[in-house]
Symmetry: C2
Subunit: 218 residues, 2 copies
DNA sequence: ATTGGACAAATAATCGATTATTGGTGCTAT
DNA sequence: ATAGCACCAATAATCGATTATTTGTCCAAT
């Protein structure tokens, strides 16, 4: 199914910043460069819109959403509201296999260099992915796919925000917080873990808007 | 934009039960009965899939998802996990306009007959809509569109579940719980409201699966 | 100078037809 | 009888071309 590939390509391009917020996503151009027909591109674009990675303006095409600071704050707040409760559930329910995966995910995250000079000011995609997997794995103990889908949606939006907001080094504190998260989770200390995560996400919100100066990353 | 109309039609048809879980959604048939081209139907179907109201099986078309009891439980649990915390936030933040809307939504819900003989065993669509609006309005005080989008997604899934699960009368207790929810919200009693909502949703979960006998609806 | 309107280019939306894949049907060889 | 294969009808996926809409530009009238 061609639309699947085009979809993956578009998603990746938008997340990598090939298109900036506000940029038009022209079906014809994309069709030509991908060597597929319009219908295929259109199908892919509709999916992208469904995921919140593009806006559709009737009779005027598709575009990368130009989110406001307010919007970024809302996304961060939503994560801050939901993720800690899911983390609690995860810690209460996670089995030994989950523990092992948390350990592995943290280990991988800690060993992956976050910042790559060659790519300019951006995080390495390897770190980005390890970061996502770590946060997701923490929640996976909850055993509820619906809650994890919710996490996935919010993470995607959050990452797009990060891409266009303060592109800063993860900082030492973030690394420390990831470690504390892992420790609290494995110690089944739901209170501490939820609190650390909430703080972690509050700092994300700050980092993504105005006062990026003194904030951590998620 | 034709796909918008076809999308709305499909969404409505699936929710109304025109298609049963497992039924194939054949682009050709739909295109013919709607008098539009395949591309349009296809676009609409992709959106429907994105909303979780259909599955897509590569090279084998679209179909209404045949969710398992387990899946319904997961959806109910996700609501039970998320909605109470959002309700707390809503009660802490809602302004007087929100209060007025809560009152109006509850008033409308209370005055709408839930059960319509003419339509067989189903809830009236008017009650369904009033019910949705009441629950949504309760949360709208939170002022966060991202959280409300999350509610919308889960509500949709939940409604589809209700449609194919125990199709029972709302029962007197549900009506009472709605009233208690309104009262607690307007009294700014977040603890009570969150607790009542959690219980309300727990009973939903029970109603949607096996032990529907002694459960309420949401 | 500015407003308004006719044109034209770009691009969005739609269509009708073509190609590819699947799943069944029935024949044949063991 | 049945395993395997060739065929075929149904339908999914894709394409190339057509139609509709928007947007910019140029000119005329005030």
């Amino acid at each position: 199914m061609l639309s699947e590939q085009v979809y993956a390509h578009l998603r990746d391009a938008i997340m990598r910043g090939v298109y900036a917020p506000g940029d038009a996503l022209k079906p014809q151009d994309i069709a030509k460069e991908q060597g597929v027909s319009l219908a295929v591109v259109r199908e892919a674009l509709v999916r992208v819109v469904g995921e919140g990675l593009a806006d559709r303006l009737p009779n005027r095409g598709f575009a990368v959403p130009a989110f406001s600071d307010r919007r970024w704050q809302e996304i961060a707040e939503a994560r801050r509201t939901i993720e800690p409760v899911v983390l609690r559930m995860s810690i209460e329910r996670g089995d030994v296999d989950w523990e092992a995966r948390v350990r592995a995910a943290h280990h991988r995250l800690a060993r992956t260099p976050a910042f790559v000079r060659e790519e300019g000011e951006h995080y390495s995609s390897a770190w980005s992915e390890a970061h996502r997997v770590f946060h997701r794995t923490l929640l996976e103990g909850c055993g509820n796919p619906v809650l994890l889908e919710t996490f996935d949606r919010m993470w995607t939006a959050s990452e797009l925000a990060r891409r266009w907001a303060a592109q800063r080094d993860p900082g030492r504190d973030a690394i420390g917080e990831h470690r504390r998260l892992e420790e609290a989770a494995l110690a089944r200390d739901a209170d501490t873990a939820a609190q650390v995560l909430a703080r972690h996400l509050t700092q994300t919100a700050a980092a993504l808007t105005g006062d990026a100066r003194q904030a951590d990353e998620p």
